[in-house]
Amino acid sequence: MTSLLIAALVLALMAVAYQQGVSRSKALAGVGRLHSRPQYHGALLALWATLPLLLILFLWLVTSGTLQDWYIAGQIPAEIAPGTSEYAGAAARLRNIASGFGVAGEAQAWETAAGVNLARFNTTLLMAAVGLGAILGVAALVLMRGRLSARMRARNHVEAAIKALLIFCSVVAILTTLGIVVSLVAETLRFFTFVSPVDFFFGTVWNPGYSTTSNDASGSYGMLPLLLGTVMISVIAMAVALPVGLMSAIWLTQYANPRLRNVIKPVIEVLAGIPTIVYGFFALVTVGPALSGLGDLVGLRVNATSALTAGIVMGIMIIPFISSLSDDIIRQVPRAMRDGSLGLGATKSETIRMVIVPAALPGIVGAILLAVSRAIGETMIVVLAAGNAPILRFNPAEPTSTFTVTIVTALTGDADFASPQSLVAFALGLTLFVITLMLNIGALAIVRKYREQYE
């Protein structure tokens, strides 16, 4: 209710300021030629009037909780020591009395008095903030209204304000990257106070002991088993996705007639839009048992949750990624090269194998790198279907584990956030981030270089 009233106040002030600016500007138009149209004078005035109010309301929002705590501390009698549970209970009771909700049963006399005081304090604080903001806003409005003149470059000022807002928005992306890097590095350094980086990067045993709740590094944190699992699953995924994706792209660009192509391409791309949790569950209940049964037929023991299951399903997920990227790249190969080869008597498939694919190779390699970086960072498929067994072994039919699975297990358990069992997630996350970053930068560089070649 109060927040609605305050929003109404801000909007009203804005509207009045805008109207004032427009009318003043129209009055000025009689005196001399206006530099800007009246709307800009209105917008400028509205900006000036509402900024102080918004600023003060923001300050109130940030500080009111602390101020309230400070006031409550003054109201609670000295015999209730701060920091105890009785103190927290008393503070909560005071807040309830102040908000008008009341407390069950009879309130003590001092509580009622303190509650009333607190309510008064809160109201005063809010009224002071709103009042001060409104006064400053109106003052700014009056002051700036007097300074409006026909020659004033109101449009430029308003546009500068909008531009500042646009710049702020594009900085958000930079801040995100900065936030990722800083938070990952900071928590990783904290992790390295428990475990030495050498043990982490080159250790071959992963056994962090999630069952222990102690804050020491009693387990072993060697990431090599996880790296092996990640690489194995990515290799299997690429072994599925690359042939199917690339050959589909070639068939769709070179052989299919355009009408068929317009139907088939979106159907394949549906695979890219399906949430990965769906693939994960599909792998767990359908692909895993099917593979296991197939293994039994030929006399191989295949675990239902294994690197193979996760890898194959991840490969299916990546097919549209490879096929649409290669599709774009193959179409960029100049037509003259293709026609030249065909004119010399090469068959279509010879042209594709000996002219088009070699010419498109750098771009295709870039696409492969991007696909690998996706496979490495993929989480839900491996969480559900890889079996979470961080053991150093090379058999793809056995359960395995990856970086992403371990990050999820480490942070969804009940370990304390400051324990190495949790912090290791950030060390793994940083490793993952660096690997994918290098793959992406490499891929983008290759793709960009290749584009320049033919443009």
Partner: protein, 453 residues
């Protein structure tokens, strides 16, 4: 002389034969290559078909569940509670709430199961059935249904009403034939009288299948799996998408406008550009780590809250929206900009009055596709605690909540695999349905708006 001619003719023949042979080989290679391409395309399409076929086949039956139309007698001897309290004038809200809670506690302590056993035993199955077996036929959420009926209308006490009660998960499995009938009693989840009762009631028509609306209206439940629903997860996802739409779309579009239209071409803008391209390819789980470290651990925002999930998804969707908006802006013909600038518009007016309206369909499509992508994201949400079990519909974005993809994750891990596998596929159908709806909306809006423009 003749010798030479002969050898020449022979050589020609040999050459011709060679060419023919190699042509046959090359044409064979051509056909094989073409078939290989066709096979890949067919394989990819087969994956789509198998995936969707599998989901639909296993998920659709979950939307129909067995119910018992039971005659329930609200026995005053069992429901022994005083009148419902009414807020007296002058009574504080806290006092009234305490009194109401005491009344609800009395109501909760009533042995509702006795009403259920009585109505199952009296349903006319003609089977001697003990109390425990009778209770196991009906979903344990049924007692809350009865309790809520009485809480809403205390006048029911002493009357008989026909109430539609859901069968329990085991009962539903049995009725759907998912449990083997050959297993001995010791390995069956339901006792023999319970199984016989269900069979008899199906034959008499009292137990029948109907559409399970509660999947959409109920919240998740562990104690009574048969009545578990998606309402809480749906609202959680809804709030998150609201946050994403309110933050990611304006910030993304503004950022794209600046980078494409205003930014000077210098090192810093290059840096921002490379940075955004890389951010688009950062694994989603890394955004989850960012959320856990910054939003949860530094800002102390609540765990499992849709607000935090929405913020994490916003950061994740931002690059997608920026990149798509930029390519939409790039597609605007330069003549439009030059015409606007030529007749004296400022750069800002050119962008906001002329360029932006033209790109509106493109931006809208990009935003909807970005939101659809965020809707299906699971991994980052697990790291900010959204995998907690929450049995409430969140009232605000700051309440604890689940989300649709996380609900899929939670249900797939449920121990009652026999019942929840189907239920998980049903949740997947709902999730995919929403995503398809969003994408269809994007396509429809684009064609509609582009025709107008």
């Amino acid at each position: 002389m003749t010798e030479i001619l002969e050898t020449e003719a022979a050589a020609n023949d040999r050459r011709r034969a060679q060419v023919r042979k190699s042509l046959a080989r090359r044409n064979g290679a051509e056909t094989r290559f073409k078939l290989l391409g066709l096979a890949s395309v067919l394989a990819a399409m087969a994956f789509v078909a198998v995936l969707f076929g599998n989901i639909l086949m296993k998920g659709v039956p979950a939307f129909w569940q067995y119910n018992l139309d039971a005659e329930v007698f609200f026995d005053p001897a069992v429901i022994n509670v005083p009148e419902r309290p009414v807020q007296q004038p002058g009574q504080s809200a806290a006092d009234f709430q305490a009194e109401m809670l005491a009344w609800q506690r009395r109501l909760a302590l009533v042995n509702w199961n006795r009403l259920i056993t009585a109505s199952v035993q009296g349903a006319g199955a003609g089977v001697e059935i003990d109390d425990r077996s009778a209770v196991s036929v009906i979903d344990s959420g049924a007692r809350f249904v009865l309790r809520d009926m009485v809480a809403a209308d205390p006048a029911l006490i002493g009357q008989t009403r026909t109430v539609r009660l859901l069968l329990s998960a085991d009962g539903d499995n049995w009725a759907k034939g998912k449990l083997s009938r050959d297993l001995p009693d010791s390995r069956q989840q339901l006792s023999r009288p319970a199984r016989d009762t269900i069979d008899a009631l199906i034959a008499s028509g009292a137990v029948h299948r109907s559409f399970a609306w509660h999947i959409f209206t109920n919240v998740d439940s562990r104690a009574s799996p048969a009545s578990a629903g998606l309402a809480g997860a749906f609202m959680g996802s809804f709030y998150m998408m609201l946050v994403v739409i309110l933050l990611a779309v304006p910030v993304g579009v503004a950022s794209a406008l600046y980078l494409e239209e205003f930014a000077p071409k210098n090192r810093i803008t290059d840096l921002i550009e490379v940075n955004i391209n890389n951010l688009a390819a950062v694994p989603s789980i890394v955004f989850g780590l960012l959320g856990a470290a910054v939003f949860i651990n530094i800002f102390h925002l609540p765990l499992s809250a849709p607000l935090v999930g929405g913020l994490v998804l916003t950061l994740m969707t931002l690059p997608t929206i920026i990149i798509a908006t930029r390519s939409a802006l790039r597609a605007v013909p330069p003549s439009l900009r030059q015409a606007a600038l030529g007749i004296g518009a400022s750069k800002m007016q050119m962008v906001f009055h002329h360029v932006l309206p033209v790109t509106f369909p493109g931006i809208l499509t990009a935003s909807i596709i970005g939101v659809a992508q965020a809707l299906g994201e699971t991994a980052p949400l697990l790291l900010i605690g959204m995998n907690a079990f929450v049995a409430n519909i969140p009232a605000t974005p700051l309440d604890q909540s689940a989300a649709l993809p996380v609900q899929v994750y939670l249900w797939q891990g449920n121990e009652n695999r026999n019942f929840f596998e189907e239920r998980t596929f049903a949740a997947i159908i709902v999730l995919l349905g929403l995503m398809i709806l969003l994408n269809a909306l994007a396509i429809w809006l684009r064609t509609r708006l582009e025709r107008k423009a």
